[in-house]
């Protein structure tokens, strides 16, 4: 069956059953919006995790009264490691001042300085593995001037677990949306078929192949899928652009990254996938009506 004929017949059928198709597209839009929102959340969680992982850090706390020679020797050791990008010496006074500044509590500045251990804040090169970070920490820990080493592994572990959970939630949500889309499209097409059963019978009696009969219905399903997923992506983009100005600075301050919209390729895949799922839903629901 020529594609053009299928499109012409589908367009006519959609005009005739406009209300039914509008209802179906609205329902599908809500489903696709859930999926797009989940993808958006996972995209941003992943970028936060990547950003934090890229900025590998280590705090080397010094024993109280560590001599400048011992500290210099420790710095020499750290500077000699290829993974170490930067080492900054934070004295007890500087640590106290920084805490007071971050907390916004001037009172903290009056606490005795020796409550705050001096440290070397080490910035590691991007891509340093967790195992290598642990090995460096172990080596540094043996130095006489070192009291403790904090690698923030627990924090990274929790963040990675959070992102992994987010990905699973998004996958489950994608599965649910897929079922939802198939269900809505199949029911819409079934409703359309019930009103057009005589049309199908006539086509079959005139010698139409199953492909000829299916064509317009599959086009209708695909159009429903493409329109609803397209509208969902559009709505999400509009919401993102509207809210970005207000919340972007806050997110950047908290997470260290700016909020990003879902990748254009994923957005296109979502729309194309919507069309394919819509077409599949139509094809599935038509099977039982072709036995004239």
């Amino acid at each position: 069956m020529p594609f053009k004929t299928a499109i012409t017949r589908a367009a006519r059928a959609m005009r005739e059953d406009l209300r039914l198709h509008v209802v179906a597209i609205s329902s599908l839009t809500v489903a696709f919006l859930c999926l797009a929102a989940a993808i958006f959340a996972v995209t941003n969680l992943s970028s936060v995790a990547e950003s934090w992982a890229r900025q590998g850090r280590m705090s080397v706390y010094l024993v109280e009264g560590a001599s400048p020679e011992d500290v210099a020797q420790l710095r020499l050791l750290l500077d000699g490691l290829p993974e170490v990008r930067e080492v900054e010496h934070v004295t007890s006074r500087e640590a106290r001042a920084e805490l007071a500044r971050e907390a916004g509590e001037a009172e903290l500045g009056r606490l005795p300085a020796d409550l705050f251990p001096a440290s070397l804040e080490v910035t590691l090169a991007g891509g340093t593995s967790a195992a290598r970070t642990a090995a460096i920490a172990e080596r540094v820990r043996r130095v006489r001037a070192v009291e403790a080493v904090e690698t923030y592994e627990a924090w990274f572990g929790r963040l990675e677990a959070l992102v992994a959970t987010g990905r699973v939630v998004a996958l489950v949500l994608a599965g649910l949306v897929l079922l939802c889309v198939l269900f809505v499209v199949a029911n819409t097409i079934r409703l359309a078929i019930s009103g057009r059963r005589d049309e199908i019978e006539v086509l079959k009696l005139c010698g139409a192949s199953n492909g000829f009969v299916r064509g317009p219905f599959i086009v209708e399903g695909a159009v429903q899928g493409i329109l609803s997923s397209g509208i969902a992506v559009g709505l999400l983009l509009a919401a993102f652009l509207a809210l970005r100005g207000d919340v972007d600075a806050t997110i950047a301050a908290l997470a260290g990254v700016r909020a990003a919209f879902i990748h254009p390729t994923i957005a296109v895949l979502l729309v194309v996938g919507g069309g394919l799922v819509g077409a599949a839903g139509s094809a599935l629901s038509l099977r039982r009506y072709l036995g004239v």
Binding site: D198, E199, C206
Partner: protein
Amino acid sequence: MAGNGKVVRPFAFFRAGNQAHANPNQRPILVLEDVYKFFRPDVPTLRGVNLTVERGEFVFVTGPSGAGKSTLLSLIYRAQTVDEGRILFCGRDIARLTAASIPYLRRNLGVVFQDFKIIGHWTVFENVAVALEILSMPRRLVRARVSEALERVGLAGRGGELTSGLSGGEQQRVAVARAIVAEPALILADEPTGNLDPTLALDILTLFEEINDTGTTVLFATHDHSLLEARAHRIVYIDDGRAIEARKGLGAWADRRTA
């Protein structure tokens, strides 16, 4: 349609206009051999039906309601499948056709029903054109062939009207136009006058005879005795699932041909 613009017609040898011929290769258009059809076990709706229809014949199929007339026709257009026996259409056993081949059989048949089976919200043109769109015929040719078919059934110039607005007789004419527009070899008419008053019924019968005059074979199922008496065509009577030759019409048909 093929890439060169030529219309692909599967079973192209099923063309209208072929007459009965002495050549053994020119087989009868339709042969039913010992056909049985069961809808309930041990109670056959058709029992051992034997029937041969030559090319270009006009055959009335009659009998009481429930005798199996519609079942007989539905076996020919493969809405039903025979349980025993064979149905040869142009020498091919249609009971053996695969599901994928059935559309190609139907493209070489024209079927007209008592309830018209036309789409009310389509125009007259769309209802007729659908039989050609299925064949992927070029739009220009579709327009020309539909106009010609509508003229033959007396609906010239009314292609743009919605069929729901037509009278019963006119709707049946649309159905007849759809059946003949693809120039099928055989037309099956299943009580086509059942919903029409006697005058309109005779008009529709005349229309089928005009189509038959161009060489198309017609199998016309009816239980209307006035129609059977009005014309001298061959009559096959279906009674209790058996086919009985009630009136030999072939001679009359042949006489009409040679006249």
